[in-house]
Symmetry: C2
Subunit: 423 residues, 2 copies
């Protein structure tokens, strides 16, 4: 049976596919930025592998910083204030707001300690799972979903850009694995450090918020450009935004000339998509077919028009018989700058492998994580433009989706979101 | 709600618990061996982190070799020969046997190449997922379940020791995640190398065998003694079997004086247990309670009777009021050599974290993997003896179980199981 044909459906070219794997092709130009290679410093707070990444700073860590080897993404839902289900909405104050503030204060303090390689709390409450592992480049990044503002009595403060993402063609989203009031990205070079940080934040949230979903992923520990589970080099031609202030401004919110509130200046928006890959079928394709679907060579990521990994693709090149060298539906053609001028985001996702699904196929793919200053000029238009017959679309399924606003980083002595919650 | 009390049951002290987490206490003496620490060479074939571990040798790699950072455990069921469901049982020859031989030949060749950092097959069939990552200390280890011998027409050759494990008190086993005709352990320091090797073996098995279950785990990348998700140091006092020939003979099958067939001499038996930890409850316990349940300090693994990590526990020590310093039901007391003399196995498991269960609790724990020359003098008696009120038993659930016989290693030019299949 071919891909995406279960139930009699065959739909090549009908699926939206930005996410199709943190795809090499998105690297074809400047339209979409990716973070630096696994071992390339990506931020002034960057540390050597295994070192410490500062929690405090003008923007949160885990956005521009080097992608670590292990990550957990989680969403939590705030508990309704005791005795007042739904209370707080629009109130501006109340138990919901105080509870949310207390949670973010506690979380921020614990995160700052853990990123230094210290136990998250004083006393014996820590289980010691991360003892001896060092900081392991741990970062903890917090985001807020639309429901956070309602439950915290801050509906009026919710940014316009934090609106539900539009429906994209062929999405097959599971609401239980998407959305959420609070977003946590925990990433580290050591798997125990990552699990410990996630478990600690969940434990500290008890009574204030309950976990809605967790997804876990990884990158390879070898250096070089990220490679996804389809085998594609992912992020080939994209500059590190840390080195380009103009591009950085497309990733982080700036307030120049607009009404950006202080709590958001230096913040970001993050889109999370769980994109399953239909590997049983993909792996059975001839290598030439796989390379034509992408438009690049598997081995070195060079475009099919020749050169090396970072050689620009020649989209106008044709074979003697007039057929384009890079096919009309090749991913890098549809994702090229000429199709997506102006839409910019920083993709910094992880591969996941969660064993078998009930039907025996692999539960594996990409945890797509994209950061941008505004999803309306980032993920949304790119995703719409890419929903045009991408050759890779047959081999992926978008299973979950979420959008969060990411407050600016906390200064020393401050907690993430304090400027919002104590305004 | 307390642990293990769902449905009104409260059963402290009633659960079998060897597995209770690759528990530190098993390290209390010589009764159970563990492999060397994460970065300590464990075998003459050992490589530096990221290097190559030879596939060929007198015993299979992945048993005595250093535990890598990432692992996938999988079981596959052989397909029935075409037109002859159930055929081959007892026949000694037939399509089942030829098919099994062809599969193991193909697998062995691919595994040997991948462990050298090469593509598994010639031509363009490889997806390239592991390109550029190097060997990453990849090991691939194959085992055979009871059904393998029936389906391959080799029922008469099935070793007596490959009998179903007895039922242990409080097991809650899911048959769909246990058993299987073929066992594959894939482990590497790089997560993409590990996933790529597993996917490759599954692809090469297509038509000959279908995957029954897959479980994925990890160890910390920091050096020192392994620490499990309960926070316990795991394997403190156990020597590396590579350094002690007498202990090595308890792990690998030897033929001295008995009728061990040639295909098994240098082989082993592996017990695999999926042991979920009730972390929500465990993490909420006071540190003192957690340490008393184990009998060791969390921070450094020293016994509660004092000293350092490798100081022997003083099981007779009492406080002035006569209460034993190490409690009567402390794990290290029940697992001490005096309780388990003679029963020896090599535990070389991985932690797993698979997100949330439907009830919101963590799906996390230990993939217990124990190697021994004979389960009747290894896992089985130890597990029976430990089923006596272990204080840790309340915090774990044994969810899946399997036993496989592990043929000796293949020499250059040979495949694993060849001496059995071509006898």
């Amino acid at each position: 049976m071919g891909p995406r044909e279960t139930g009699g459906r065959s739909r090549p070219g009908r699926r939206a596919v930005l996410g199709a794997g943190g795809l090499a092709a998105l690297a074809a130009g400047a339209a979409v930025l990716t973070t630096a290679d696994a071992r390339t410093p990506g931020d002034d707070r960057e540390a050597a592998a295994g070192g410490a990444v500062a929690f405090h700073g003008p923007h949160q860590a885990g956005i521009l910083t080097r992608r670590q080897y292990h990550a957990h993404l989680a969403a939590l839902d705030l508990a309704a204030p005791a005795g007042a289900p739904g209370a707080g909405a629009g109130a501006g104050t109340g138990a919901g707001r105080a509870g949310a503030a207390a949670l973010l204060r506690t979380w921020s303090a614990a995160a700052a300690r853990m990123t230094r390689g210290e136990p998250p709390v004083d006393g014996g409450a820590d289980t010691g799972v991360a003892l001896g592992a060092g900081p392991a480049a741990l970062t903890v990044t917090f985001g807020l979903g639309p429901g956070f503002f309602d439950r915290a009595g801050l509906t009026a403060a919710r940014p316009e850009a934090l609106a539900p993402l539009p429906a994209f063609p062929d999405d097959e989203l599971d609401p239980a694995r998407g959305g959420g009031d609070l977003f946590v990205q925990v990433a580290a070079d050591d798997p125990l450090v990552a699990v410990h940080a996630l478990r600690t934040l969940q434990r500290l949230a008890r009574g204030a918020a309950s976990t809605r979903w967790v997804m876990s992923g990884f990158t390879r520990s070898a250096g070089g450009t990220h490679r996804n589970l389809m085998g594609q080099l992912d992020g080939t031609a994209n500059p590190a935004p840390a080195t380009d202030p103009a591009q950085r401004a497309r990733i982080l919110v700036t307030g120049s000339g607009s009404g950006v509130p202080g709590w958001l200046e230096g913040g970001s928006y993050v889109v999370v998509r769980r994109i399953r890959m239909l590997l049983d079928h993909w792996e059975g394709l001839p290598a030439q077919h796989r390379e034509q679907a992408v438009g690049r060579r598997v081995a070195d990521g060079a475009p099919l028009t020749g050169g090396a990994e970072r050689t620009p693709a020649d989209l106008d090149a044709a074979r003697p018989d007039g057929v384009p060298v890079i096919a009309a539906n090749a991913h890098i053609r549809l994702a090229a700058p000429r199709s997506n001028a102006g839409a910019t985001m920083l993709r910094r996702g992880w591969s996941y492998y969660d064993g078998l699904r009930p039907d025996g196929t692999p539960d594996a793919g990409l945890l797509f994580v994209a950061w941008q200053a505004d999803p309306r000029t980032g993920f949304i238009p790119v995703q719409h433009r890419l929903a045009r017959g991408d050759a890779l679309a047959r081999y992926v399924v978008h299973e979950a989706s979420a959008l969060f606003v990411v407050p600016r980083g906390a200064a020393e002595g401050e907690y993430v979101g304090q400027a919002l919650l104590e305004a």
